[in-house]
């Protein structure tokens, strides 16, 4: 978290400011091992309700803290149906383990895009949970 005065001339703070401004954030936790789930591929999609197809808006990888900053900009975040797709199966495979769910997709409706939405994913090899947090 940024504290104190933000000197926006420094590149690192600029990146963090941009990342912090994503109105949609996630946090993936490996509850089996009690650690953040790092290096997991995550993608964000929005449903085109006319064509009834999903458009991928961004794709990224969780950092060492299990977070994926910069998912979407304030401007792009309009009302609609969104989907966060977590490549959980690949994640467990990279740890040399099998898992019950090959991937997790969380589909949600945004009707108040001026708000902030934090959607964590708590997962183990055989379970997962998600909620609207802050």
């Amino acid at each position: 978290m940024l504290t104190g005065k933000a000197d926006l001339s420094t590149p690192l703070r600029q990146i963090m400011a941009a990342a912090a401004s994503s109105p949609l954030t996630t946090h993936v936790l490996n509850t089996g091992d009690g650690i953040p789930a790092a290096k997991m591929a995550v993608s964000l999609h929005r449903l085109d309700s006319e064509l009834m197809i999903w458009n991928m808006l961004s794709i990224g990888t969780t950092n060492e803290d299990g977070r994926c900053p910069g998912l979407i900009s304030r401007e792009a975040f309009i009302s609609g149906m969104y989907k966060l797709r977590f490549e959980t199966g690949s994640y467990w495979e990279s740890l040399g383990q099998t898992s019950f769910h090959p991937y997790v997709e969380v589909v949600f409706t945004i009707s108040s895009p001026e708000q902030r939405f934090h959607l964590p994913l708590l997962m183990s090899r055989f379970s997962y949970s998600t909620y609207r947090g802050s």
Binding site: H101, P102, T109, S129, R132
Partner: protein
Amino acid sequence: MSENRLQKLKGHIVAENKSTAMAGSPNPLTTHVLNIATGLPGSNMALCLYRHVPSTDAWTLITTGTTNDDGRCPGLITKEQFTPGVYRIHFETAQYWESMGETCFYPYVEIVFTINDPGQKYHVPLLLSRFSYSTYRGS
């Protein structure tokens, strides 16, 4: 042989049959929807079960159903249909909350899971509120 001894032997034989029958359980895949906001089963929720077809990357619809008063949906799949593969259960969560006059953050919930050994029993519950849900491989 004494009556007692015969009864005991009969008991072993009957138990053997029972476990044989359950090895290929008539209900190898079950679900259970729980409304954790009200602390009650999630009854009258529509759901569908699909199996993934790898060659075409399509999904075959296997069953459609609605949860009963206990939040369960028996008869999702038969032992014969239950082959190894990737399955998906689609739960109509928003429709469920709407029928109670409330909105839900999740228009639907889909749980995708891999079945490697269809001889086992798989229980895939959904614990749900308007703004959260969880699932796990249970028994």
